[in-house]
Symmetry: C2
Subunit: 338 residues, 2 copies
């Protein structure tokens, strides 16, 4: 892990992008022996005794890049928790406790701070966790870095690695709403009030699929799992790289508001569904012989599990809908590049 | 915990200061039942089973307020780890794993990022921990938020609460170096090269008293403990408030370089020792009957434990050196105010 990547010595953050930056950092870290979860998966973990692991995750929200003007401080704080919970959900782990590092600009008032505190608390309680501590300091931008903790059995963790050819690829919901919502919030695209409300809510009031993730974990039918926070296409490429498989997608479930938005703005709904971001569905592979049983279990807890394709030996990620074939590109939302 | 502090509704962060901001946030959080460590202590914790706790801590370094120009990125990254380890040390807990949220300005290069990664790794390995994950995003200032994790028995934690009248107050080292070092780095004060080197090193290359903290924890002789990261005076007031006791100080151990610096700059060395900050000694109270035994144990591991006064029923914090009595004020280094 100590080899310097000489070719990247003079690159800027924008040339590198978030994923290369993380790789560069990992290159300079000593590896903890026997890591139960490899670097680069959605969470980190360490074993405390026979097979029992502490699961950790930190994710940072910064108003420089992550907070559209229309999003309230309460919503931004809650969302910071939700995006971390989503990673726990994708591994099948329940978050117990949360600590928060809060960077506040001097211009913030006590009312702003109270709004942030209430949003953090609301996000935590919504998923059964508590904020148990933190730290605050002065920053130019608002920064909310939340760290989540939970316990799990090592064998119960759903990793990005493990998908096998023949497994079924499935997702927990419809795609494209956040891609469309971000176009409204950041690029001034228009929509009817009713459509706009739904699309903007998907960005400002996201939900993590925690109950689905815990149910999938308990079902023991999942072979690999990730959330779609960097976009569906990116998630598929991550699963592909980590499991050394490919996919053939025969269906991309898209929300009806996305079709309406895409039509009135002459955009491609499939593009919005594949290459959006900040969409917190789970993307999992399931042993095909227990697919129906798993779909029923998820239906029983009020969720949905939609098969969208199959896992292939061939490493390509193909989309094949109504005889129209295409390659899904490895792109999505990325800090420093997007 | 849900009562709004109405009097603070319109205050700015600078009027509030770090400590009131943290209080304001806590007012709006639901309390986790049976918290093994109360809000406001140096670390957070949650119980995972009979008496066994996971210990957590997050502390953020921001180059807007925490990084003097002379401090390298490597040093800043290492220091972020050290300041978190110091809190673990003060509770007698060994850190196992660390996750990091890293906010990077666009202007940073791959060389800068490598320097930060190496500094984080060096800090972690110096204290036997590993960096096992993290997140990065774009920010205006450099932000390094580290979260530390470890395991402990609830009864072994050295809290801020627990000091009893008659106990001896003791510290793990000399004071004043960082107070003087910060005056050199931030306010342009002068010193001879040899003195300057020592004082600046205390700011740029701090050490956490982890071995001392673990040894004190194992000794079972400590009744209350805190680190001196916000200054010795502030730590004494925190111990006083949390333990509902006072102190009479008969000695403040000050480094010889601080006397030299203070003399040539016409400053009060006691002021530098009491009201500095970012000084990572441990400040503990010890049952007086086992003081000598504890001093020997700390000497055996290469550290030192210096008695500086006694715990009193009277809540005042008095300094009484050579017959000169004075009150130690509740001030120190505070974000947003300093």
């Amino acid at each position: 892990m100590k080899n310097k990547r000489k070719d990247s010595l003079s690159k800027s953050t924008t040339e590198l992008g978030e994923h290369n930056i993380i790789g560069l950092i990992q290159d300079h870290l000593d590896l903890m022996p026997n890591m139960p979860v490899p670097f680069g998966d959605d969470v980190s973990a360490f074993e405390i005794e026979n097979e029992r692991v502490v699961v950790l995750k930190t994710d940072m929200l910064t108003n420089k890049t992550d907070v559209p003007k229309e999003m309230s401080l309460w919503q931004a704080a809650r969302k910071t928790i939700v995006m971390n919970v989503s990673d726990f959900a994708s591994k099948g782990v329940k978050p117990t406790a949360i600590i928060v590092s809060l960077g506040l600009p001097r211009t913030f008032t006590s009312k702003d701070i109270e709004e942030i505190a209430c949003g953090l608390n609301a996000g935590a309680r919504e998923y059964g966790a508590y904020i148990i501590g933190g730290d605050t300091g002065e920053t130019s931008d608002l920064i909310i870095a939340a760290s989540l903790f939970g316990m799990a059995q090592k064998k119960d963790l759903m990793l990005r690695k493990g998908a096998k050819a023949g497994d079924t690829l499935a997702v927990t919901g419809l795609f494209g709403k956040t891609g469309a919502g971000l176009k409204i919030l950041l690029n001034g695209f228009k929509a009817t009030p009713k459509v706009k409300e739904k699309l903007v809510a998907s960005v400002c009031m996201p939900k993590a699929r925690l109950i689905e993730g815990l149910t999938l974990g308990a079902s023991k039918t999942v072979t690999a799992s990730i959330d779609s926070s960097d976009g569906l296409a990116w998630s598929l490429h991550e699963l592909s790289n980590n499991s050394n498989v490919g996919f053939t997608i025969d269906k991309v479930p898209i929300a009806k508001e996305v079709f309406q938005f895409a039509e009135s703005n002459r955009l491609n709904p499939l593009e919005l569904a594949l290459y959006g971001g900040e969409e917190y569905e789970l993307v999992v592979t399931i042993k095909t012989e227990v697919l129906e049983k798993t779909i029923k279990e998820i239906k029983n807890i009020g969720g949905c599990l939609i098969p969208i394709g199959t896992v292939t030996k061939d490493l390509k990620i193909l989309i094949d809908i109504d005889g129209k074939k295409d390659i899904i590109e490895p792109r999505g939302w990325e800090h420093f590049k997007s």
